[in-house]
Symmetry: C2
Subunit: 187 residues, 2 copies
């Protein structure tokens, strides 16, 4: 099952870091790519630079609009799942979404989303009914869709990789590359 | 098992929204409270305002420092779990953490964390070995610690509650209160 993310309502001035977290979370949990409805070339560059260093084949683009990607996803036979606090509970909706076996486009908004989105989505899924974070909602949704299997993903290529250890840090150069990972690994 | 969150390395100018997402995620998934090592009274007020509207008993404070809360947690018999991309894999570490049956202080850094933290923590846990987001890492860690049971949590009190529906939004006034939820539910 292919998973992609569509980010809408991104305001480059205000949301740069949150949307970066959305994109990196999508990548780390094995989504194939992210489309950002609004244009932000700098953000795409940041995400692509991480992908180049750490490997894998994550695709990021911005300025795609939101109706076009949703219509294209539907046309290709996929299902569109909108993450919101106003939807069906995650635990109830996810088994249905998985059982359909169709590719999933996960749509995450910022503060405001167009009302029409609730109608265009095949599913509106609530990751809890409390206000929190689209980054958290996305992480939990992908984790459930993939039943935790992202932990075993291998990111081919790139220049460095991190090796998990109980204490301290271990970063391995895959081949000649520049730069070291940041201390916490969080952007 | 009581879960609390300690946020370190918060830079008020740069991290306000990410740390707000950390705090709201902690609350939404049922953590008892958050301590932010660095002072940011405005952020604490924002989180407390959400808690007042949506109910529950989430405690937020800032300017706590980080060694003090870690030492106090240890003294009270709890375990300290640092989320980082450089730790033991989540799937391997979480069963051990749960089996100990001790309260958990989850420590999440921003870009940089003090090296000493890796030694003071009982566990350094990697939520994947790819760079992503402390918001996502926290969500996945609490979800695993609580085996998804946060979805059934009830937040007593507050003035409004959201009722999950397949289409559109439904917000119920618990009692006379002001304000409506934002459209997506994400800060």
């Amino acid at each position: 099952m292919r998973i992609e993310v569509l980010r809408i309502g991104h305001r480059p001035q205000r949301d740069k870091r949150i949307t970066t977290h959305v994109a990196l979370t999508a990548r780390a949990l094995g989504a194939a790519g992210i489309k950002i409805a609004e244009a932000d070339a700098g953000l795409v560059k940041t995400v692509q630079a991480v992908a180049a260093r750490f490997g894998g084949t994550f695709a990021a683009e911005s300025g795609t609009g939101w109706k076009g990607p949703i219509n294209a996803w539907h046309k290709a036979g996929g299902q569109v799942v909108h993450l919101t606090m106003y939807g069906r509970p995650l635990g109830e909706a996810m088994p249905d979404i998985r059982n359909r076996g169709k590719d999933v486009l996960l749509v995450v908004g910022a503060e405001k989303v167009p009302g029409e989105l609730y109608q265009m989505a095949d599913e509106n899924v609530a990751v809890g009914n409390q206000p929190h974070s689209e980054v958290a909602a996305l992480a939990l949704a992908i984790d459930r869709l993939r039943a935790g299997r992202w932990e075993a993903d291998v990111f081919e290529g790139g220049t460095i990789e991190v090796v998990g250890t109980a204490r301290g840090k271990q970063v391995r150069e895959k081949r000649q590359g520049k730069g070291a990972a940041s201390d916490s690994g969080y952007a």
